[in-house]
């Protein structure tokens, strides 16, 4: 395998600052040296590589765009996106662990939490010493989270939570779960700590996708948590949805990395694999696929860069994030499938990474708002008519 160099057909690098490029190369170097040698094995064995978590904390991958005073790196949103791109070039599961910790656990604690909650959790989550998870989706409420059944009831100086959450990344190993539940009919966020009686997080097994990542259920049976564990500023479905906007932003960037890895692999293979006495890259059908891949990657890069600049200037809205998530994941998946195709029979083996990315991207297409839901979000935005109500 050649050393990874990201394709840059439109010299998008010219639009990046020196420190954005330095952050990208720092994460790229780490992924080359610490992720690539172990990830295929972890994926095959369906094991989350725990040893990477502390290293990711040291690098500053968790909540990287949150302020330094809470132990975070305080990088720009473009730099944050480039970090996600490099992590997902390794594996969508590794990027997911950073997305969940930063966008779905640290962000709500930072945004809706008290200063005490921030001081208590953010530095530990930033360093990777503590792990967090985000409980919104339920077995019967995926695309329609507003229908959630999980409830919280005030009882003296505690809240009592009941319900079940599903498809929760890192649930089983989490020290704290950000659980969304109805309190007097209104969706609120609660911090449920590991070991609280009535709270369990069994791991879900037998996945064909995101195998190097832990997926869990959260079961809450009369879970009594102290009054101070509510996120006081949270209120209504918009609170968890604003977390999803943060996570989707990272996903839109992340999948560029997966697509680049597949393109890089397919291009190298096509240039060296000989059939009919010449490299398969000399055939028009193969060239057509490679051209499709590099063109879509270039569009993905430009879409994300402008989205990041808008986020940094405070002009970004969630519909724009939906567009980037929807487009980039679908294109990354298409690119991964094409790469797998170019690799022929070799492409189904663990010697090559495209099929791993392809399988992972099926999850990424589905989580954090499915492709179809993002279509309807944008459809609602441009027509003013919600198709999902």
């Amino acid at each position: 395998m050649n050393k990874f160099e990201s394709p840059d057909y439109y010299l998008v690098d010219n639009l990046l600052t020196d420190d954005e490029k330095m952050i990208r190369s720092a994460i790229r170097e780490w992924v080359d040296e610490k992720v690539m040698p172990i990830i295929e094995d972890a994926y095959q064995k369906a094991e989350y590589p725990h040893q990477l978590r502390g290293q990711m904390g040291e690098l500053g991958c968790f909540g990287a765009n949150l302020p330094e005073k809470y132990g975070c790196a305080g990088v720009s949103n473009v730099a944050y996106g480039l970090m996600m791109q490099e992590l997902e070039r390794g594996d969508s599961g590794i990027r997911s662990s950073a997305s969940v910790q930063g966008a779905l656990v640290m962000y709500p604690i930072f945004t809706f939490g008290t200063e005490e909650q921030r001081q208590n959790w953010l530095p530990r989550l930033a360093s990777g010493e503590a792990v967090g998870c985000f409980g919104l989706t339920e077995p019967d409420f995926g695309s329609n989270p507003g229908g959630m059944l999980t409830t919280a009831v005030k009882d003296g100086d505690s809240y009592v939570l009941n319900g079940a959450k599903m498809w929760i990344t890192n649930g089983t190993i989490s020290d704290v779960a950000v659980v969304w539940a109805r309190l007097d009919g209104r969706v609120r966020g609660f911090l449920v700590e590991k070991g609280t009686p009535g709270f369990s997080a069994p791991e879900m097994h037998n996945k064909h996708s995101l195998r190097a990542s832990i997926t869990s259920e959260l079961i809450l049976q009369d879970v009594r948590i102290p009054e101070k564990n509510i996120l006081p500023e949270s209120g209504g479905l918009n609170s968890p949805l604003s977390c999803l906007t943060q996570a989707r932003y990272g996903i839109a960037w992340g999948v560029i990395g997966a697509a680049m890895a597949c393109y890089h692999e397919a291009l190298n293979y096509a240039q060296t694999r000989i059939q009919f006495d010449k490299p398969i890259a000399s055939f028009q059908l193969v060239q057509q696929k490679l051209v499709y891949m590099i063109t879509e990657i270039t569009k993905m890069q430009l879409l994300c860069l402008q989205l990041g600049r808008l986020k940094d200037s405070g002009e970004m809205n969630s519909n724009q994030v939906s567009m980037a998530k929807r487009n980039n994941v679908a294109q990354a998946l298409e690119i991964a499938r094409m790469a797998r195709d170019i690799l022929g029979a070799n492409g189904i083996t663990a010697e090559y990474q495209s099929m791993r990315h392809m399988c992972n991207l099926e999850t990424v297409k589905t989580y954090e708002g499915t492709h179809d839901i993002h279509t309807l979000i944008i459809g609602n935005d441009i027509t003013g008519i919600p198709a999902f109500k």
């Binding site: 020196d18 420190d19 330095m22 690098l59 990088v75």
Partner: protein, 249 residues
């Protein structure tokens, strides 16, 4: 401890270097520059020493303003500040660089001055020894292991077929070999902090150069290989050619 680390910007080791117009330098177009890899071991050693004993790490590098990007990479690893010796172009003659560095280093009262054992671009491997001589300091090169204890230190260094352990007094000059340590990754926090660190610019007086690069030539193109298709029957012929033509056995 007050430690200086002298670093050099070099092309990324994966770069395919082309000879530039004029034939005495390289074509700089499209080259990705990095900290000379041996210098990263030097920086890491200095950082570990100051983390243990307190003090500061100062990076020194000679070159035009464009090398500040690479200096920031070193600051992102954790070095506290940096000095850039401003010149339009890094001198070809190592002595010129050494004299300028020595003059600047004199003002710093450093307990230790680190170098990488050589720069991977010109491969002279002279800088630590030259600066040590100019400053009249004990100089230990190609160091694999270093222990500092108050005013003295011991170092293990590679010699032909073994290791040599040397004891020496501080201040001193040390050049780092690969595997002296494992250089840390630049963290996001480190990169953000590096933006706020100071790079002081000094204008060095340059000595007269006595060495000039006259010509740079790429290595000769590899000839075509020979393929022997008859298995064991060809062994005698292969041995003859290895001995008489390739002259390797």
């Amino acid at each position: 401890m007050n430690i200086a680390v002298c670093i050099k910007q070099t092309p990324d080791t994966t770069t395919r270097v082309k000879v530039g117009p004029g034939g005495t330098g390289i074509d700089e177009a499209g080259i990705n520059y990095i900290i000379n890899p041996y210098d990263e071991f030097a920086i890491e050693e200095a950082l570990q020493l100051t983390e243990k004993n307190g003090g500061e790490v100062t990076l020194l590098s000679m070159g035009p303003a464009s090398i500040e990007k690479t200096i920031r990479e070193g600051l992102a690893m954790g070095a506290h500040k940096a000095i850039r010796l401003n010149v339009d172009k890094t001198p070809d003659d190592p002595t010129v660089t050494a004299k300028a560095l020595a003059e600047t280093l004199k003002n710093g009262q450093y307990d230790l001055i680190f170098f990488g054992k050589q720069a991977v671009d010109d491969d002279h491997g002279q800088m630590a020894s030259l600066v040590g001589e100019l400053l009249d300091l004990p100089t230990v090169t190609v160091v694999l292991e270093l222990h500092v204890d108050g005013g003295s230190a011991t170092a293990k260094r590679e010699v032909e077929g073994g290791l040599e352990t040397i004891r020496f007094s501080l201040p001193a000059v040390v050049s780092a070999q690969r595997n002296l340590n494992e250089p840390r990754y630049r963290s996001l926090k480190g990169i953000m902090q590096a933006k706020k660190k100071t790079i002081e610019v000094v204008e060095p007086a340059l000595a007269e150069a006595h060495l000039v690069v006259e010509k740079l030539t790429p290595p000769p193109a590899k000839g075509e290989g020979k393929i022997f298709r008859n298995g064991a029957q060809d062994a005698a012929e292969v041995v003859r050619l290895l001995r008489e033509e390739a002259k390797v056995i």
